[in-house]
């Protein structure tokens, strides 16, 4: 893969100069602040016709939920999707980067991307950064060689599995998978099992919550079911929601449409394909 010229510190990559000092401080009882884990439940499983990926939608900053409905299933290629757990910035950046690399590769080769390509690109990158890029991924897709499901750990090791879970809610979800998974599930059975596993994470793990996202990938195509299940709806004390007290009378209704200022330039520079 060609590498563009990036400005790197003189030694290249991370600078490990402060490690000895940090170690000395740790011995004295002064520990560095720990990274914020985002808490997640992400799962994947292989069914009859392909792969199903699932994820919860809660993003946390320490004890606070900062995003109630974020997207954890990232696009890699038309036939490959990747769920990400760990530091949100790391998962976003690394999946974006590899997605672009895959696109360039597709132009270069003229073929559909393979899951193992994405796998190798991701694991090489993560290993290079020795676990400091805190991204734990569940990569799934269907290519010419069939359906594939892999897990990638922050240090760069990978596994090929029939079903996988990652994140803080992974044990709760894995308990569901280990007791209920079997080969040759149909599409609806697979979706139900994935939903059950994510719900198990949502309700039993504090780092996961809100809704369930599902992505079904088959040879024919993909189906991204955003918020497939919403088991935690917003509840209001009054069924009518918030209403102003009756005393506020509407005296006058005046709607002023803002003028649309959209200029369409005909015959501009077309991007070369």
């Amino acid at each position: 893969m060609s590498k563009s010229v990036i400005e790197t510190p003189p030694k290249g990559g991370f600078s490990f100069d402060l490690c000895k000092r940090n170690e000395m401080l740790s011995k004295k009882g002064v520990n560095p602040p720990s990274f914020r884990k985002t808490g997640t439940t992400i799962v994947g499983l292989i069914f009859q016709d392909g792969v199903i990926l699932g994820a919860d939608t809660r993003a946390t900053e320490g004890p606070i939920v900062c995003d109630k409905n974020c997207e954890k299933i990232h696009y890699m290629a038309p036939n490959i999707y990747c769920c990400g757990a760990g530091t949100a910035a790391d998962t976003e950046a690394v999946t974006d980067m590899v997605s672009s690399q895959l696109q360039l590769h597709r132009y270069h080769t003229g073929r559909e991307s393979r899951v193992v390509t994405a796998l190798t690109l991701l694991k090489r990158h993560l290993f290079n950064y020795q676990g400091y890029v805190s991204a734990a991924l569940v990569l799934g897709g269907v290519d010419v060689t069939g359906p594939h499901l892999h897990t990638i750990y922050p240090h760069g090791s990978t596994d090929t599995l029939p079903f996988a879970t990652m994140g803080s809610g992974s044990l709760a979800a894995m308990a569901v998978f280990e007791s209920k998974y079997r080969e040759g599930l149909t599409r609806n059975e697979g979706i139900e099992l994935v939903t059950e596993a994510i719900c198990s994470g949502i309700f039993n793990d504090l780092g996961s919550g809100s809704n369930v996202d599902i992505c079904v990938i088959t040879k024919g195509g993909k189906e991204y079911l955003r918020n497939h299940l919403q088991p935690n709806p917003r509840t209001y004390t009054s069924s009518k929601g918030y209403s102003f007290p009756k005393k506020t009378e509407v005296l006058l209704t005046k709607i002023i449409p803002l003028k649309e200022k959209v200029e369409i330039i005909e015959g501009g520079d077309a991007m070369e394909e």
Binding site: G29, I46, L119, T145, A175
Partner: protein
């Protein structure tokens, strides 16, 4: 093992050799639930010495008095000490000879006091205990941890069981399970432990306590399934990967 204490230790400069600092021989999770006639409890028979599986026939569930059943995970020697304390407790109770006997609730309370007091002296009994029993038709199931956290519930689990078994039990437990359904549910949990807990062994015991008394069944093994096609040739798509 040498005592390693940080230089700015809050415990001062005492290197008291009689304090419990870490466990040595440990048992893994115990899981228990209430069913129609009483309590069902399951635990495997492994005693690990660090990362070695040293003992494979450790009975981690014992009957206490007439009405209770105690299961423990954590340090095995501390569990044996607790059994001696309880022996003494039951003995004194019997000596009263007043027709009354200690029920599971009382034993649970006693254990909570013991665990909490030990932790306050920075010398804990390194166990997570599960106490179940039936007295006068009332089923009781409670748990105590090594720091003295105690509560009572319809289904409990210790150690890894909290993460792996609780989700399953929360979803599938219901009132008035039959004996067969209860055992099936416990076996489901034990299966997940076997696959996903490194200190689990495939030799488990189921114990049952009802109004009639305690039955600890003979140890047996679970069937495991390894025939997934993805396990057969994981590197077929990418040679050199695994």
């Amino acid at each position: 093992m040498a005592l390693k204490q940080p230089e700015n230790s809050l415990l001062g400069s005492e290197s008291d050799p009689h304090r419990t600092l870490y466990p040595y021989v440990t048992g893994t999770s115990v899981v228990a639930l209430k069913y129609k006639d009483g309590i069902l409890m399951a635990a495997d028979m492994g005693g690990s010495y660090g990362s070695t599986l040293r003992y494979k026939s450790v009975e981690r569930m014992k009957p206490i008095g007439k009405h209770s059943l105690l299961g423990a995970s954590g340090e095995i020697s501390d569990f044996q000490e607790i059994l001696r304390y309880l022996d003494e407790l039951i003995l004194y109770d019997n000596m009263w000879d007043d027709g009354n006997s200690l029920g599971p609730k009382e034993v649970h309370n006693y254990l909570t006091r013991v665990m909490y007091n030990r932790r306050n002296k920075f010398n804990p009994l390194w166990n997570s205990l599960v106490l179940g029993g039936v007295k006068n038709g009332n089923k009781y199931l409670g748990t105590v941890s090594m720091i003295g956290v105690n509560f009572e519930d319809n289904h409990v689990a210790t150690g890894f069981g909290n993460h792996l078994a609780r989700p399953i039990l929360r979803q599938e437990w219901h009132e008035n399970l039959s004996f067969e359904d209860g055992v099936k549910l416990l076996e489901k949990c034990m299966h997940v432990f076997l696959y996903r807990d490194r200190s689990a062994v495939n030799k488990l015991q189921i114990a049952k306590i009802t109004e009639e008394g305690v039955t600890i069944h003979q140890p047996y093994s679970l069937k495991t399934y390894w025939e997934f096609s993805a396990f057969k040739n994981p590197a077929q798509g990418a040679i050199g990967s695994w």
